[in-house]
Subunit: 298 residues, 5 copies
């Protein structure tokens, strides 16, 4: 799995480029003013930016925590999707009863497993607001694809189709009703995972908090040069830039982590995960079919 | 979904308007006194407000965390309601057995799904202390609506009606008792979600904590001008206002987030969520009915 | 529900009255000493109380968090009790099969629901170390009440009686064994809630922690006047009192929140919650019985 | 229950006795040196210990939190053991079907309940690395005890015996297979609780963290006298001792809380809890047997 | 169990050796410059590194927390694996029905238990990117091993084989379908644990956060000597080294804890845990087989 792909540093740094330049210009102007006009009155005690720095540190810590939690929850959910996909596939193989080695049961098993793979891709695309039907033709029948055309929430509809298939399997006697209930429970878990993704996607971090933290940060940066100019002269410029950049980087990192389904490089790698589920399930399905001889020996 | 609607900045700012004006006047008076009477004795070391600032930061951090948790839990619960509504609808479609394509089963399925939609709206109105029966006539039969007239807790009664319907379905042989138990389990989850909403609604953040934090904050603001007047003169006024406003804003934000069912702009968007559930379930129900031909082909 | 009842400020303030007076006297003595003997040597740098202040802030933050968690968990548990009472009542109504409209089944349903209400009251009284049997005669039969006379843990015995009733119902054919298992699961949840309440009740916050925090706080208050006397003179007295009161109030608040079942005004409102459960269940039971005509029409 | 037993203050204080004496000697030597040689150069700015103090506060906060979490989780687990013991006992009474009032079923019920009590004691002794078989003869038959002689993990073996008994009961028709599955689920919960206790027991808090925090604390204490000597002279000695003792106490408390199964006074009171389970289950069993007459009347 | 093995201090210290030497050289150069050229202008107020120190403390605290959580979650998961292995083994012994004391059932029981042991070892090796098949021949049949040759995810395939075996057992009538569903549920839990391990393994702590914290730390260390040189002269060198080492050690500890499956000394002791599961299950299996006589007496 390629989940180790990092958030490119350059990408993040690019986002604060203009802020950094503005701060550098601002700090330089103050240093020049101070040096040429010698108005020492503009210096302020370091304690002022220090108080603000403490408050902002706490707020950024609070912010980072919430953002990290959202990001980490997103990974949790997709981890659960991996697990439940595997369980669904194991259950559909080991629950269905195939007395006469009927082709129909085999088709049914395959259909459920392929639809599950398709569901993972579709959920990823749905969350990124892309066309969830694209590429789905590889995993479901044309008839089923056709019936999905006008549906808004494709992943939800696919799980409903899973339900219909369980109904059919019960009807045909391939599973009994305890097994149906257990398989349905796995569908409920997948429904939960899907709903949790949508909740994270649709519930933004309270905007006013973000705005306030940004304003407080700006105030802090604006005051900082006046606090350190006295001791450093021109050395003040890189110092102010370095400290400001630190704070701004944390803020940007939090902003990126907090929206894990927004089609950005910092995203949850949903397509990669779906691909790995596909590989995993197809390999086990192939093995399971090949195993028949082995099992006959038992 | 329109959950991205932000808490309007103007709305929040409006809440601290009068405090801000009072602080500005207070700071100005102190600046004038200091400038005209030159009583330097009124200045205090910045360390005093700095200590208080640290304590208040920690308390506001604690407060923000709890408020955020309440707000985020409210979203969790409504996310779970979305998931369980979908699962209930999938289960009622795929569990019920309809041997002779009887109209009764179809009516039953539809009644459960429509009632579930009505329940979501009713729960939202119930939590906001509005008339929960209003608009319910679109989702339940007149007879059922009639029987609810004198009931206090409408959503709870609707779930009981769900239970009666399951009883009926078992009686008629449309579902067997494992399926009844599984459907009832989904009802229990919905009961849990409803109870959690009521808990958040009815359990206020300890008022004395709030009061104390407010008093400590006022003390801090009252001392702040004396700490900075020495260095800034009249520039002290906007500085004090800016710092005070920062702290007050965090406090107000926490107050708003902590009560997520209070009919305010910062509210959990329950009506929007219920609307999206309605759209989702109705679309899938329509598709499922239309699918019958497709399923016959299998 | 009346859960919004606040912890009365006066009640909390009363608890710190004597400490406040002692601190005022202490601070005044130091101010007098300083003013009349002009021994400036007794002043200390503000950094000393500031270090202590930071440590204490962190410890009180830790303390407040744990106390709040206990208090909030207590509400969670009672929220779960509300939910599981409703689910139990819904299940007992919709699971029991009453073929011949037998009086016995009706009696059984009523007995379970009434006992569940009685259990809520009994658990509240049990946790407060009051006589759990008092008032129970309204909810259970004289025979059952009689058999409970020498039992120590009444709520636990009531849940066992629920179990016996399920056994009876299975025996009589009113429920089948899946339904028995599902009803028993709800009893297990109620057992869990009861056990959790007992755990919170019986596991105190580590006393030595509390003691240590109190000692550190006293040290801080003792040093504070020496730190600020230089700048404020007699104004020092109200300042020291105000800051000390802030810290003491947080400490007291934490002490109150941490024991949510101790029969104090800050208590979990168990009787109120039990009352609301009673009203809720009785109303739905009445409606359900009245509904019979409505259901016959289906 | 006697869970309110506190960690004796003297016990904890005893642990830091020698450290306190060493610090007192050290601080006195520095005070003497300073007073007689008047080398003022050895004083350092208070800001140095202050920085270290902040870092250490944060680390001790982190440490206290993790230690408290382990301690609190241990109580949670034993709370769950109480709950699941009660549920197991209720289930074994209400699930088993005794058509002909056979003695065998009564024996079976009693055996399961007594073994469960024995299991609680055995688990407590097992976690404290004591002989888990000691005293077990009161709760299980000599034959069963005999078969356990060479087993390493006694509690685990007892749960396996529970499983064998369920197998037997199913075989004899005293329970059906749903009830077996449900009882087994309670056994799985007990298995989980046992495994969680072992995890806490066997997974130590990362030692290097502890070591580092201790070193940093020592550095802080070593620097402290130099920071305050200038202002206090000989008063420095008690002040340094008091502050050091505060930090050391928090460290020791964390060390004690973090290992909740180590046979120390700060331990989880497992024997007390097991005793209370025994009393509870035996009383309810006795009552249940006595209740037979009452139930016949129904 | 040997889980108490600590992360060797020397090992961790070795990692910061070169950084420490570089910092010592750097601090010495600054001390020499200051002493010989007496350019006092290079000193900076201690408040500057103090602000940075606060920010870094908060960030390292955040970092330590996340790292500790990952490490602790890894232990949780392996604890759950222990529990579910025991439960699976108990269930397979007590659920399977062996009417005619058939050898086949005995073989089946043994096969499931041995495969479960093999699964634990295989999962450990899989997570460490070692050959998961190595040593597996001790636990599964040559045929089964053969069929696994080309499979990528061995642990996942083993759980699928478990599913096939349950299918077989249902087919042969050794278990009924409730028991199959319950055993399958245990397999689902093991699937979840496996997936959680993979999630932790494959989801790195956001790299940019780490990088930023490292840069800020370097800035802090670079400024530190200028802040303390004025007061300490050459004593500055060990002081700067000691403080820097503290911060670097915390950073390294966090880095080590955060990847609990990387084949390092700080690793989760998966082989040890698997070994202890093996010993536990084999002992209980042996006892259970020996118990037959005991059970016959009942």
């Amino acid at each position: 799995m390629l989940l180790k792909k990092n958030i490119p540093f350059k990408y993040v740094f690019g986002k604060i480029k203009y802020e950094i330049i503005a701060i550098a210009v601002y700090a330089t102007i103050i240093a020049i003013l101070y040096n040429y006009s010698h108005i020492t009155r503009i210096t302020i005690p370091l304690a002022i930016p220090a108080i603000l720095g403490t408050v902002i540190s706490l707020l950024l810590g609070f912010r980072s925590n919430q953002a990290y939690d959202r990001w980490w929850e997103a990974r949790h959910i997709w981890g659960a999707i991996v697990n439940d996909s595997r369980s669904l596939s194991r259950q559909v193989m080991s629950f269905t009863y195939n007395n006469y080695h009927s082709e129909d049961v085999e088709t049914f098993r395959q259909r459920v497993i392929r639809r599950q793979i398709g569901w993972c891709y579709a959920l990823g695309r749905h969350l990124r607001k892309q066309d969830a039907l694209k590429g789905l033709d590889k995993y479901i029948s044309p008839d089923e694809l056709d019936a999905l055309q006008d549906i808004e929430n494709i992943p939800s509809a696919l799980l409903d189709n899973m339900g219909s298939d369980l109904h059919l399997a019960l009807d045909k006697g391939w599973i009994n009703s305890y097994q149906q209930v257990e398989l349905d429970r796995t569908l409920s878990k997948l429904t939960d995972s899907m709903g949790k993704c949508e909740r994270i996607k649709n519930t933004v971090f309270p905007h006013t908090y973000s705005l306030y933290i940004h304003i407080a940060l700006m105030l802090f940066i604006a005051l900082l040069p006046f606090g350190v100019i006295e001791y450093f002269g021109y050395v003040e410029v890189p110092l102010v830039v370095a400290i400001s950049a630190s704070f701004l980087l944390i803020e940007k990192m939090a902003i990126h982590l907090q929206d894990p389904f927004e089609n950005k490089p910092t995203d949850t790698p949903m397509t990669t995960i779906a691909g790995s589920i596909e590989k995993n399930l197809m390999q086990l399905y192939a093995k399971s079919t090949a195993d028949k001889k082995y099992k006959k020996k038992l």
